[in-house]
Symmetry: C2
Subunit: 107 residues, 2 copies
């Protein structure tokens, strides 16, 4: 599985996006991350494994705890790929014939 496959696939799950949103506020342990969800701890552990495998989070060992935090380079690769679309889209958006085609379609 390509790295982009893993990253986008990981982001496709709302639980995992919520976990990332939580981690955007700062480091958290597995139990802290599991707490807000109506889901068992093993389920959260697996989500974290997916996020780690996708390079979106990092973990350290601190006694029995495994605090998680966002991976600093996580978003860069995704942004790079999206950049290709962004460029085309903004270019198309300014081309008259495309705008007219879009208007015709919407009728």
């Amino acid at each position: 599985m390509s790295s982009l496959d893993a990253a986008f696939s990981a982001l496709a799950d709302p639980t995992r996006r919520a976990i990332l949103a939580r981690l955007a506020l700062g480091e958290a342990t597995v139990m802290e991350l599991a707490e807000p969800f109506e889901m068992t701890q093993p389920a959260i552990s697996r989500h974290l494994k997916v996020l780690e495998g996708a390079g979106l989070i990092l973990r350290r060992v601190e006694g029995t705890k495994r605090p998680c935090r966002l991976a600093p380079t996580a978003v860069a690769e995704i942004d790079q790929w999206l950049g290709m679309l962004r460029q085309t889209l903004s270019a198309n958006y300014n081309r008259l014939d495309d705008v007219l085609a879009a208007m015709r379609t919407e009728e």
Copy 2:
């Protein structure tokens, strides 16, 4: 399924990303999109349905053909969500204690 679920989920598939990359070069019909892949036409039709459902592409009717193009607003919502992470990541990256924690983990 949330709109972000659909978008990220659609982007998780390499065939669909390749289709989007192709559409970044300009409009194309189903057959044109199917040609480079070792995959049947119905399979491509379903991928296009997924991309359309995720709001990533638009289609018009032109005789028997259904030319596809990128949806101008496709990437915006994704970018918006990623923005949240981007902000935190760049902030963390500049905080001394986080940098030190990262270094310690890497030992």
